[in-house]
């Protein structure tokens, strides 16, 4: 079998390479199929046109004669302006729908009908009318001394009613 000796400076193919390398070399020397280049070129053209058609959505027409950098700047500015417009428009719509309530020119208070001389109701409504109590007539006594009550006789304390309790450990503690 062939044992090549190409690439002497690299020493990659030394004498004594195995027979198996003939198989690999056979594949490595394989000729490319007919028309491979044309097919690859056609595939590249297709890929290119696919790229163009997908990019055309955002691309500017080339006939305007603007450079790539200027186009990019213009695009950025337009996008920024669009964002600002959308934000401002949205906030205006919200503010136009929700008007703040106008403050009242005069505050109407409920009528205050608290009884004369009583506590004020502090603005509470539906205060129930309190009834006047019965008037007690004061009778004047003929003998003022008789009318004064006698002081109650003091009852003597009954010793022995309450028992003192002796705790068994109290004397020990002292």
């Amino acid at each position: 079998m062939k044992t090549g000796n190409r690439d002497q400076e690299s020493g990659i193919r030394t004498s004594g390479s195995g027979e198996f390398e003939e198989t690999l070399r056979l594949i490595a020397r394989l000729s490319a199929p007919e028309g491979l280049e044309e097919r690859v070129q056609a595939g590249l053209r297709k890929a290119k046109s696919a790229n163009h058609s997908s990019a055309r959505i955002l691309a500017w027409p080339e006939g305007l004669g603007l450079s790539h950098a200027r186009l990019q700047n213009l695009g950025r500015m337009a996008a920024a302006a669009a964002i600002v417009a959308v934000v401002l428009g949205g906030s205006w719509r919200i503010s136009s729908r929700f008007q703040p309530a106008q403050p009242a020119s005069a505050i109407v208070l409920p009528p205050h009908n608290a009884a004369q001389g009583s506590f004020s109701s502090a603005g509470a409504m539906r205060t129930p009318q309190t009834l006047n109590g019965p008037i007690v007539s004061v009778t004047t006594a003929a003998h003022p001394a008789a009318s004064t009550p006698k002081p109650a006789a003091k009852k003597p304390l009954r010793h022995g009613k309450y028992r003192t309790v002796k705790y068994p450990g109290a004397s020990v503690a002292h």
Partner: protein, 179 residues
């Protein structure tokens, strides 16, 4: 207008790369995927990636190695996603691509069987060793260039290749020794 001219020039440069390197990329892709349609798809995908990054083309020092690196990554991605191909598919595919001259039908079938067996053993190698071994079969790639494609050092490529050859020798003598 200047931008348009620059864009056109970049596209022409990509078209030139296709003419120059499509065949090389196809072989690299085929060595891993071992299916003509899959390899062609991988080449297509690699050039689409190039087209996407065409504005950086002028920064690339070695366009050939750069392209091989791109297609290598595409191919590894695809291989990861693909199911394992049955060995019989490999035999049929190899019988199709083997040089027909001077071989009888029986010899061709036997050779296809042998190559399929070798490729099955290659599949059993650890990933790093397998990749170096596969790329080393390409006569247009030096060990330094293989190192660039794999994103490693040249000395690492050499040691991996040494290990790969030893492992392959063991596998071909004792087919299940790595399993």
């Amino acid at each position: 207008m200047h931008d348009l001219a620059r864009k056109r020039a970049e596209e022409e440069a990509v078209a030139e790369l296709v003419t120059q390197f499509a065949g090389t990329l196809y072989r690299v892709a085929y060595s891993v995927l071992r299916n003509a349609a899959d390899a062609e798809d991988a080449v297509q995908e690699a050039f689409v990636r190039v087209l996407r990054h065409r504005d950086t083309l002028h920064e690339v020092r070695d366009q050939r190695v750069w392209l091989i690196r791109i297609v290598w990554n595409v191919v590894l991605d695809r291989k990861r996603r693909m199911k394992t191909r049955p060995e019989t598919d490999d035999v049929a595919e190899l019988a199709r691509i083997l040089p027909a001259s001077g071989l009888s039908a029986e010899d061709r079938a036997a050779a296809a069987q042998h190559h399929a067996h070798v490729l099955a053993c290659v599949e059993q190698l650890p990933a790093k060793e397998r990749q170096v071994l596969m790329l080393s079969a390409f006569e247009e790639l030096s060990s330094a260039e293989i190192a660039v494609v794999l994103g490693t050092t040249e000395s690492s490529v050499r040691s991996r290749l040494f290990r790969a050859r030893n492992l392959m020798a063991g596998l071909l003598n004792h087919p299940r020794s790595l399993r």
